[in-house]
């Protein structure tokens, strides 16, 4: 894509550069966007391209553990052992083909369900005279803010059966015998993931609904179409691009999703690619894991490619609508309150009930005994008691919790600040140098992490930074590594919002600054950054939330010294300490909700972009 077309004489440039030597470098130095873009390019190549190459290499070189399996080869030698194992061996079915099928089935069905929920909600909120709209639209995005496995843990608390031992869920306690397919596996994974991801559709399709010209509908009405025909022939075709991009966005997230399948699939050995990858790492077969990472990257890339083909426009996260005339709302008549009650009930079931169930569980001394005498605060504030959960104190008393808490906040803040800075700088350079290969290279590279599923991204960073390479020291076990990985994974969103903010800003203002004789630094400080302030603050919220609840990527990078709230939850549930795990999740939810609220207050914006605002 026109990487070189802008400057056809790329090969000669070096010669030209040498020839003009001094002049040229002076010009480069006096052109801050150029200097900046080269710096950004180096950074993004290092954080994005190099890791990709390294995973390729890791999948065809022998890892140290496997000297026990592949005799006669040295560590680091080239080998096709892993490729053969994953694609064409006795265990390929278990290692690859079954997880692949499961991944495709689960993400497809989950996306369909999420889109139905999101579209229906968006239609009610935007297109009808539903009561309590504003409240509903704010609540509808909450499931997405919560860590995705909140619902999985809640599901287990309610539906867990006896198969995997330990405490059973509430239903079994009341004598309901549940088959495995309700308690674990594809069905609960599809449902809980759809309930987590439907807000994508809700927001995208919602703004499409908001943006389109209702005069078309009116015309159809005048021509004698009834409501159903109008919906089918006019409304749906109009929002179908938004539905299509929601679908792609949801399914590509689904393919990489880790935490839900790990909680709900692992108990019965139902594995998707991400959990198989993790299992391979856990079982000490990193080679297999890297081959699976490659497949996951290819799979996600394919979906994005298809979506580019279909939708024709890449990265259409948000449709900024034109000034359509204020839509005439569809009157639901006497059904208004019924619809509203139904939706509120749904939101109650997917937000309040799971959180309540998790909370209740943390107050039970013996899990699964639902009587008042069983009430305890031990798991929150209890002192260490031998015999209960390995003698761990309640989470609020446990220094580990507070360390993890601080780490999580630290990660959230540093990632969001770094992403925002990166986004603004990328936006500035890409827009300023538009048409040059530098600009498009930056644009493309910063988008690449979007194609890489988080768990694969984590695995890649682990392989890349485990050792010292050249001047870059090993970052293994450092908090820096976790910040770097999380920030790099955020590049696409940061760049996207930075670029669109800069496009909206336009050139004229900076040109005015140039005419007035302001230096580049002054222009940045006095014009560009202040004007971008609201966008900047806005760009802080999403990375903060996503960093706070990030699990799938960091689970691989975390060491005992760099524990986060999310990985702590994961560890506790791995030990079967569901009380602790639930309590930490609740703590995390509280932190996320409070921080989101504060940030929204500061920036005066809302995640639902005022979809229901009247």
């Amino acid at each position: 894509m026109g990487l070189h077309s802008a400057q056809p004489a790329a090969g000669n440039r070096l010669a030209v550069l040498c020839e003009r030597g001094w002049n040229r470098s002076k010009r480069i130095l006096s052109n801050p966007p150029l200097v900046l873009s080269i710096a950004l390019l180096v950074i993004s190549i290092y954080l994005v391209i190099v890791p990709l190459i390294s995973v390729l290499i890791s999948s065809v070189t022998l890892h140290s553990r496997d000297t026990l399996r592949v005799f006669g080869k040295k560590v680091g030698e080239f080998t096709t052992y892993y490729l053969k194992r994953v694609f064409a061996s006795d265990i390929s079915d278990v290692l690859f083909y079954e997880p692949l099928m499961n991944t495709l089935i689960v993400s497809f069905l989950m996306s369909v369900l999420a889109i139905c929920i999101g579209t229906i909600l968006a239609w009610f909120v935007v297109r009808t005279d539903l009561p309590f709209k504003r409240f509903i639209s704010n609540m509808a995005v909450v499931p997405f803010i919560l860590p995705s496995w909140t619902l999985s843990l809640a599901w287990l608390t309610i539906f867990k059966n006896r198969t995997i031992g330990g405490t059973t869920g509430i239903l079994e306690y009341f004598g309901v015998q549940l088959p495995d397919w309700i308690s674990y596996g594809p069905l609960p994974i599809i449902i809980t993931m759809a309930l987590h991801y439907y807000p994508f559709t809700f927001m995208l399709v919602g703004s499409a609904f908001k943006g389109f010209d209702t005069r078309l509908e009116e015309a159809a009405f005048v021509l004698g179409g009834n409501q159903r025909t109008i919906l089918r022939r006019v409304v749906l075709p109009m929002v179908s691009p938004a539905i299509a991009s929601s679908f792609i966005l949801t399914i590509s997230r689904g393919i990489g999703s880790f935490s839900t399948p790990v909680f709900l699939g692992n108990p019965i050995n139902y594995r998707v690619l991400s959990t198989r990858l993790f299992a391979s790492l856990q079982a000490g077969s990193p080679g297999d894991a890297y081959v699976i990472s490659l497949v996951m990257i290819l799979l996600a890339a394919t979906f994005i490619f298809i979506s580019n083909r279909i939708i024709g426009k890449r990265k259409s996260f948000v449709t900024i609508s034109g000034q359509a005339p204020r839509a005439k709302l569809i009157s639901l008549g006497k059904w208004r309150f019924v619809a509203s009650a139904g939706i509120l009930l749904f939101l109650f079931a997917v937000i309040v009930v799971p959180l309540f169930v998790l909370a209740a569980d943390t107050f039970m001394r013996v899990p699964g005994v639902y009587s008042p005498s069983n009430f305890t605060l031990h798991y929150w504030i209890g002192k260490s008691t031998p015999g209960i959960l390995d003698g761990r104190p309640g989470i609020l008393r446990d220094p580990d919790t507070w360390k993890a808490f601080l780490n999580s906040v630290k990660l959230g803040l540093s990632t969001s600040v770094l992403s925002a800075i990166f986004g603004i700088l990328i936006g500035y350079t890409v827009v300023n140098l538009r048409g040059t290969w530098l600009s498009s290279a930056l644009d493309q590279i910063s988008f690449l992490p979007y194609l890489i599923p988080s768990i694969a991204f984590g695995a890649i960073y682990l392989s890349l930074f485990a050792q010292q390479r050249g001047p870059i020291p090993s970052l293994y076990g450092t908090f820096m590594l976790i910040i770097l990985a999380t920030t790099a994974k955020n590049f696409p969103f940061a760049a996207k919002s930075g670029i669109s903010a800069m496009i909206q800003l336009g050139h004229e203002i900076e040109e005015a600054g140039i005419i007035a004789g302001a230096s580049w630094l002054t222009r940045m400080r006095r014009l560009v950054l202040p004007l971008q302030r609201s966008g900047l603050l806005n760009a802080l919220i999403l990375p903060f939330i996503s960093a706070m609840r990030e699990l799938s990527m960091v689970v691989i990078l975390i060491t005992p010294g760099t524990q986060l709230l999310t990985t702590l939850t994961f560890r506790y549930s791995d030990y079967g300490f569901y009380h602790m795990s639930n309590a930490v999740v609740l703590l995390l939810v509280i932190v996320i909700v409070v921080m989101t609220y504060i940030m929204q207050r500061i920036t005066g914006s809302e995640l639902s972009e005022g979809l229901g605002g009247n």
Binding site: S64, R65, D66, T67, L68, R69, V70, F71, G72, R85, S89, D90, I91, D93, V94, L95, E98, R162, T163, I164, G165, G166, N269, A279, Q282, A283, G284, G387, D390, G391, A466, Q467, Q468, S474, L475, Y476, G477, T478, T559, P560, G561, D574, Y575, G576
Partner: protein, 368 residues
Amino acid sequence: MKRFATLLLVLSLILMLGGVSFPVLAADEDWNAITDAAKNEGLLIVYNPSSRMGEAAEGFTAKYGIAVQWAKMNDVEVSDRVVREHEAKARGADVIVTEDAAILMAQLLPQGYVVNYIPSTHKAIIPVEYQDPLIYQFQPRIIGYNTEAYDESPIESLWDLTTPEWRGKVLMRDPQFTSTNLAWFAEIVEATDEMEAAYEKRFGEPITLTTPNAGWEFIKRLANNKPIMFKSDTDVAEAVGARGQADPPVGLYVLSKHRDIPAKNLALEACYGLEPYMGYLYPAYVAITANAASPNAAKLFVRYLLEEGVKAWTKDLGNFATDPRIPTHPDDPLGGTEAWAKVTMPLNAQTTVKHYGELFDFWMKHAK
């Protein structure tokens, strides 16, 4: 031909492992100097698979005033982290405890990631066969049943676990992530005669093989019989021993879980008399990392672990210190390690190394 070459390699590997002794640090040690140096080193980091390490760590800190940061992680994680930290020259573990003999013997020790260390105080005490590498305790992992549903063990032979009656009713930790379970399979593969004899005794006819020998056959049939994979021994013991079950499963778990029987009101007993063996006996190894940032504190800790730390385990049933001065628990049903070693299969590091890779894939393939 290829098979022959592999065999040769395996054999030479075994010879190497059997013949080569790993370097042992220092002969005579000045414990006052070590203690002083240890106190100056500050923090000690320990990776290990058991949560009891917390007690040992607390005791150590109380005695010497040296802070211990300990983390519970599985064997793969321990070895992965040690290797990475070593390559990264990062501050990581000083002391590791692992149950994964294969990785310790074939990777960590020979490739110089960790060093075998026996404190001078214990050289004459710990039996020589447990010194290279150093083992500080043994634990039996056994098959148990529910005593509320059954008056006596409902199974008489390991081969019962492969019958339709027990389909989906055998609980164990996943061998993919539990090195000791895989190591047990390696022993079973080697115990062809016993497995064959047990088969004939149970079914009254000789076994028909679809795999190289009766050991492999057992593993294949067990895997095909839908055993249920659990995350922890605690969960297995609870699921087997919980009261009020109409049709309870049997399970493989560490004997020490029997200490929870009164507190959790479990109906749990080991399947004594199981043919040919009722489980296995596995060692816990302790070693110092080659790049330990607190080498003296590490030495001091190993000594403490052997002397007193191990009591965090041995104060309960089902843990046996290699130091003969530390007594077996008075309630021990058999009276000591030797007795357990007769009814269970003691794990042998060389056997594990020999079959590790093949068994891992074999199990994955059949346990679908």
